[in-house]
């Protein structure tokens, strides 16, 4: 478990962050997962992720698939943040995750892309 210091509001709280990403039937990573990993790296946040878990399309019992079921998450990637009290918060939208946990603000276009990716009912706006 590491101490996340980027967010002044949570600077003294130790957190454990798990990222769940999806692997498709052909063994490749899903598009959004690749994009989010690139954005994490670009923002210098990649090493803040303690653990990366795979939700494997080929294995419904893979750990990531089970975590998705447990937390009722329907899209990858997502993040599980556990504080030192054992409380877990699940983040499914990347720009909200980095705002809540690291107090980082995504660009408008990045936030818009995240909203589209995680809000399928917006497909007709």
């Amino acid at each position: 478990m590491q101490v996340i210091s980027a967010n002044p509001e949570t600077s003294d709280i130790a957190m454990h962050i798990t990222m769940v990403k999806k692997v498709l039937a052909d063994g490749s990573a899903c598009r959004k997962c690749q994009q989010v990993e690139a954005r994490l790296a670009e923002a210098g946040l990649r090493d803040k992720i303690d653990r990366v878990v795979i939700a494997d399309e080929r294995d419904l019992n893979s750990e990531g698939m089970l975590l998705a079921g447990e937390h009722q998450v329907k899209q990858a990637p997502f993040f599980i943040v556990r504080d030192d009290q054992g409380n877990e918060t699940v983040h499914t939208v990347y720009f909200r995750f980095i705002k809540a946990v690291f107090n980082r603000t995504a660009s408008e276009s990045e936030a818009a892309a995240d909203i589209i990716d995680t809000s399928p009912d917006l497909d007709y706006i």
Partner: protein
Amino acid sequence: MSKTNFDAVKLASEYDSRHPSDILKLALDNFNNNIAISFSGAEDVVLVDMAIKIRPDLKVFSLDTGRLHAETYRFLEQVREKYRINIDVLFPDAESVQKMVTNKGLFSFYKDGHRECCGIRKVVPLRRKLSTLDAWITGQRKDQSPATRAGVPVVEKDGAFSTADHTLYKFNPLSNWSSAQVWQYIRANNVPYNELHNKGFISIGCEPCTRPVLPNQHEREGRWWWEEETMKECGLHAGNISKP
């Protein structure tokens, strides 16, 4: 300033089988001046027709992506004149559009999907607008897309555009109406409609991303028809998983 005592879950249940006019009245009564209808230039014109009878000073906004059909622009103007309302037309950020078009061309969405273009042309201006409102009203209906809209309630806390500091509510008064009911209302009330409907269009969006559908084709097939499979690739439900 958001309303803290508005129980969207309870009201969604209470109003689920009510007429769209009742849902519009609920919305307009509860959010007074800080609510607006999002008008796409399609069948959601019935919302304007119903709401104007409740609140003549109705606020309406529309997203002009720069890629709409000429028919849609004419229709927006027709609605503005008939109902004597101002339509707040929202435009995308010119610099963002220019950067995308310069880098990728005018039809990049056919190659790498519609999300980037929709993000720049629709979602960013929409998000800016919604940050100034406490609630908005949409024409979303369950029958528009069984895959993505089957669970659309008549009123909800907006999970996509609310922020930690600002709760936004979304009303979907037509949620439980079918396309047939919408058209019955349009004909019975002599409501103007987009001439594209006479040309086989059901769902109407941007010109490059919308096409007419054939009889018995679902309206979803008229939008982003080239990328259906890729939209599913990040899903984590069993239905996405190929059977051996």
